[in-house]
């Protein structure tokens, strides 16, 4: 009887360990996390796969950038900057951050598969 109890406990322990281990190995990879930062400071960290459609407004020295999230994609919808390079960049792609130099604003993917893109 005693041995049987020990046996059950051990089996349970092993099963629990296996379950935890499985959960750890199979945890969802944080694939598409977009990071919005201003002057090097992170303002938002957004998981695009679960984020609902919305717009975010960010201001810098009185100038405004409007960021739009739509269907798991993110882009600069409009901006109070002179050149509009950030808006023209379009939807965010791997290895190509959306940068608004005048307003010091950057939207980029967090951990891509590659370390950098020569461009």
């Amino acid at each position: 009887m005693k041995a049987r109890t020990v046996c059950i406990i051990i089996t349970l322990v092993i099963l629990c360990t296996a379950a935890v281990w499985c959960g750890y190995v199979m945890r969802p990879k944080s694939g598409k996390t977009a990071v919005i930062s201003q002057n090097g400071k992170v303002l938002y960290r957004i998981d695009l796969s679960s984020e609902k459609d919305r717009t975010i407004e960010v201001t810098y020295e009185g100038r405004k950038n409007t960021i739009e999230i739509n269907g798991g994609r993110i882009h600069m919808k409009c901006a109070d900057c002179p050149d509009h390079i950030c808006v023209d960049t379009g939807w965010l792609e791997d290895g190509k951050p959306i940068v608004c130099l005048p307003n010091r604003l950057v939207i980029e993917y967090e951990n891509g598969d590659i370390d950098g893109t020569a461009r």
């Binding site: 041995a3 049987r4 020990v6 046996c7 051990i10 089996t11 322990v13 092993i14 360990t17 930062s37 002057n39 090097g40 002179p82 050149d83 390079i85 792609e93 791997d94 290895g95 190509k96 951050p97 940068v99 130099l101 010091r104 950057v106 598969d113 590659i114 370390d115 950098g116 893109t117 020569a118 461009r119």
Partner: protein
């Protein structure tokens, strides 16, 4: 019998837990010493730069690199009235004292002008400005305006003697084709001086790495931007080096159905039309890769291959306007393309 069975299960369970525990402690040690990942960014030289450094010295390494980049920008900016380059350009032809670093970079650019038979020219700034590529107010200058401006260019007009430099009036120096690469070299040096042995610098798309591998032992994976669309045309696996790309897609404008790209042919003063869409140069020195990515783009496929055959420790990935990808044999095995039409260039 039951007891024996239980003992066996107990023993194996203990062994399992034990080995797990051992593994875990190994990993956490590695985390403490090597795997710490720090990143920082700088807005400088008209672009956005990021630095990622691994290891416990990463943070102070990044700070040193950021300082170095900001310092060099103040020396070499073509628009900052306090920069050394601005002083040379606006001194009305008289000599201006310059720092040892500026002198070295000017001499390097002058030497590269010779080596590339004029394809690299740091005196094209007035022409670039006439096209609006410096301001974003694009326009197509007429032939007479271009030829008048070309009269003022000429690397041979730059005088660099004993810590002084000058150019004749109306001639202007712009280090745009070499400054970022050189700043990358200096930033890499600053990181190493702080004890960083594994780091990646992304200076507005110029990639420079420190260390042959990341702390997990894998090499650096660098994507090469697709000049025709989204994403990359392939991935390059590298150790410590610089990977620098130039392409017309970076900045261009369209007028009356014609596309005008920002890399000018110094001979014509017009956008280079050599048949190449982008040039990536891989080598140990950032400033050399930077200078060559621009000038090999101007030269075109055949001349770029000839240049490569006459040089050492240099590799290239060229993409033609038709979408053909040409990879030099030294890196052919390290390049995994996402496209099919890849040709290996042999010595």
């Amino acid at each position: 019998m039951k007891k024996k069975y239980a003992a066996a299960v107990l023993l194996s369970a203990l062994l399992m837990l034990n080995s797990c525990a051992a593994n875990n402690s190994d990993n956490s040690n590695a985390n403490v010493t090597d795997d710490i990942k720090n990143s920082g960014s700088v807005f400088a030289m008209d672009t956005y730069m990021t630095i990622t450094a691994y290891g416990q010295n990463g943070k102070k390494g990044i700070e040193a690199a950021q300082k170095e980049i900001t310092r060099l920008e103040k020396l070499w900016s073509v628009t900052d009235e306090n920069s050394e380059i601005y002083s040379i350009d606006h001194s009305g032809g008289s000599e201006v004292p310059i720092s040892a670093e500026t002198e070295e970079l000017l001499n390097f650019a002058i030497d590269m002008h010779r080596q590339t038979k004029g394809a690299l020219d740091i005196t094209l700034y007035p022409v670039l400005r006439a096209w609006g590529f410096t301001t974003g107010k694009y326009r197509v200058p007429d032939d007479s305006e271009i030829s008048a401006l070309l009269e003022c260019k000429g690397v041979e007009r730059i005088s660099v003697v004993n810590g002084n430099a000058s150019v004749p009036e109306n001639t202007e120096i712009d280090l745009g084709a070499v400054a970022k690469g050189c700043a990358g070299d200096a930033a890499a040096k600053a990181l190493k001086e702080q004890g960083v042995t594994s780091a990646l610098l992304d200076l507005g798309g110029n990639i420079q790495t420190i260390g042959d591998a990341k702390p997990d032992g894998t090499k650096w994976k660098v994507g090469i931007r697709d000049p025709f669309g989204e994403g990359s045309i392939g991935t390059l696996t590298v150790g410590e080096c610089a990977v620098i790309t130039s392409g017309g897609y970076e900045r261009f404008f369209e007028q009356d159905g014609v596309i005008y790209k920002h890399i000018l042919d110094p001979e014509t003063g017009r956008p280079a039309d050599s048949g190449l869409a982008s040039v990536t140069v891989i080598g140990s020195e950032g400033r050399l890769c930077d200078a060559l990515s621009t000038s090999l783009y101007v030269m075109g496929l055949d001349d770029a291959c000839a240049y490569w055959r006459n040089s050492e420790d240099l590799e290239m990935i060229l993409i033609s306007d038709e979408g053909g990808v040409y990879v030099t044999e030294g890196i052919a095995e390290d390049f995994s393309p996402n496209v099919e039409n890849v040709t290996v260039i042999e010595r």
